[in-house]
Amino acid sequence: MGTRAGGSSNGGRRRNGGTTTAAQPAAGAAMRAPDRTDTARDAQSGLSRAQRLELYYYMRLTRSLEERLVNLYRQTKVVGGLFRSLGQEADAVGSAYALDRSKGDILSPLIRNLGSMLVQGARPAEILRQYMAKGDSPTRGRELNIHYGDLVRGFIGQISHLGDMVPVMAGVTLSFKMRGQDRVGLVYVGDGATSTGAFHEGLNFAAVQRCPLVVVVENNGYAYSTPVAKQTAAAQFLDKAAGYGIAGERADGNDVLATYQVTKRAVDRARAGGGVTLIELLTYRRKGHAEHDNQSYVPPGEIEHWERENDPLDRYSRALLASGDVDSQELAAIDARAQQEIDAAAADAEAAPMPVGPDALVGVYADPPAAEMLWFRSGVTSAVAVHERPAGWGTHDA
């Protein structure tokens, strides 16, 4: 259960590296406090004080950014649905933190893994622009929410079809192996996504090829409205590992350090040529599948219980304070800094322009570079007459 000390050091990790720019202040820069014992390692996790604060920063940034998205959603500034990871921030942040960006590790996030993308260098302004479908968003308005990627920073945009990223990441990591690169891949799947054929085929393929891949099953209790007991008859997802002949571990996904450690072990194993690890992280989805979902299917008190007893941010700030080398002012300063970054990003994103119609035709193929203009559209840039926008036109229901 991830409580034993990880034998590995985190020496190779350089977080605030060359990818940040003056215009985009380095995430986590606020945590550099040279007058403190920044390099003192935590006995269990092997993480320095600065790194442990960085984990806190990413968790806070995830939560605050999603809260801002809720506001924007209520103001109908978000075009599609809004998907929260409330209560799951530790699992996404802790696991992604075990990758080494300096080595070119690659991660494939799912809809609840905003935190992991932030760790890999995604920026709040990008996320906000994506949700608002802006023309200068990473996908130029073509794809929804956090469905985007950047191979340079090391994350790959998911598609909606659950499970499909597992074969894709099998191939990404197969290429690492073929080229003798010292790189590792990590792919997330939900409890629900484990039921898909693609999950099975991809995991089996990676296992046989001994790809340097970590597969994180985020067991958050539900797939949309479906509880885990209707998704699988297995006692735990961990039990699937043996069926693929791969290593398996299970950890408390709401404990960011435990999550980090278990993933770090798997990453180290992968990098050392030990093949695939399946990690089951136990967590809980406190919000509905998306913002519209009223969670009527959840037994009374369950959400409140998790909120009260097992909020990953509460738990982690308590632990940090209890460790004695962090004080509450420092945490408050991180909170404020995250908030400022989001404020700036939101102003920026709101001001950004929407794409224009003909942009839609560009880039389906490398060659030809643009699709043909429709014959009835030649010379027309706005397709829709004003009266065509019916009442109720807007976000889709699910």
């Binding site: 308005g141 073509r142 949309y224 559209r377 829709v384 007459a385 699910a398």
Partner: protein, 325 residues
Amino acid sequence: MPEVTYLEAIRQALFEEMERDPSVFCLGEDIGAYGGAFKVTEGLQARFGEGRVIDTPISEAAIVGAAAGAAHMGMRPVCEMQFIDFISCAYDMLTNYVATARYRAMLPCPMVVRGPSGGYVRGGPFHSQNPEAAFLHTPGLKIVYPATASDAKGLLKAAIRDDDCVLFFEHKYLYRRIKETLPATDHVVPIGKARLAREGRDLSIITYAATVWKALEAAEQLEREDGLSIEVLDLRSLLPMDDDAIVATVRKTNRVLIVHEDTRTGGIAGEITARINERAFEWLDAPVLRVTAADVPLPYAPPLEDFVLPQTADIVRAARQLARY
């Protein structure tokens, strides 16, 4: 009788068929207590129990395959795809197993696969698809795609009673946007018959699903502004297709505009054009033309989606050109 929405009409059909025939049952993701992503199956589980309204794991191939197995044994399963976009995960099962069952093995396979389809709702590339063209060349399947509440109900009842597999595409843009008073009696619309949505003399628009409404809007505008009399044929059934109705409208107006929401290349308009060529070439006074989506994955941002999908203004523009031909 009160007016009911397209969505409510679908729910009524499910209720009534489940009441009528104990072999009818539903399976899909989140269709039970939750009532489905769009609440189409709301109340079904409360009425018929967990045994007949089954929440499944996320596995479209298993949903379709299990439905086929149950259908062989005399059941009449109705599968929900949470979004029709996920039917692609069951493509093998549908085209190879289900579609061929009767022919290769004399196995009856009466089942329905239904789900929310289509765009105009800012759903992006994976929550807006129109999969009809992917299945059109698979003998053994039937495909319907209603545009009205009345047809949604009547065709779903026909689909459930059909002895073969029917793909029942529901346009999610229409779910709550159109309303209608439905016939009181057991309302069944035969599969394979088109519906004349508007009579006209000068030009025929052949279409189906959401674009039926855009075509009707365009027809009104063209009548008002250009004095053109436009006929609108709503295919309703795509496989089998109502050749007689197609030929009749071509003979009448001699000018055909085919409108569909799917991408242009490989969309169903091609098949319709071929049939018109074969059966009514002599009656054509102008080429058969197409108003369709552009050949790109459907993007998410409103200006992009609006630009890619066919709009009323496009139909008007195209019809004017064709009328002048």
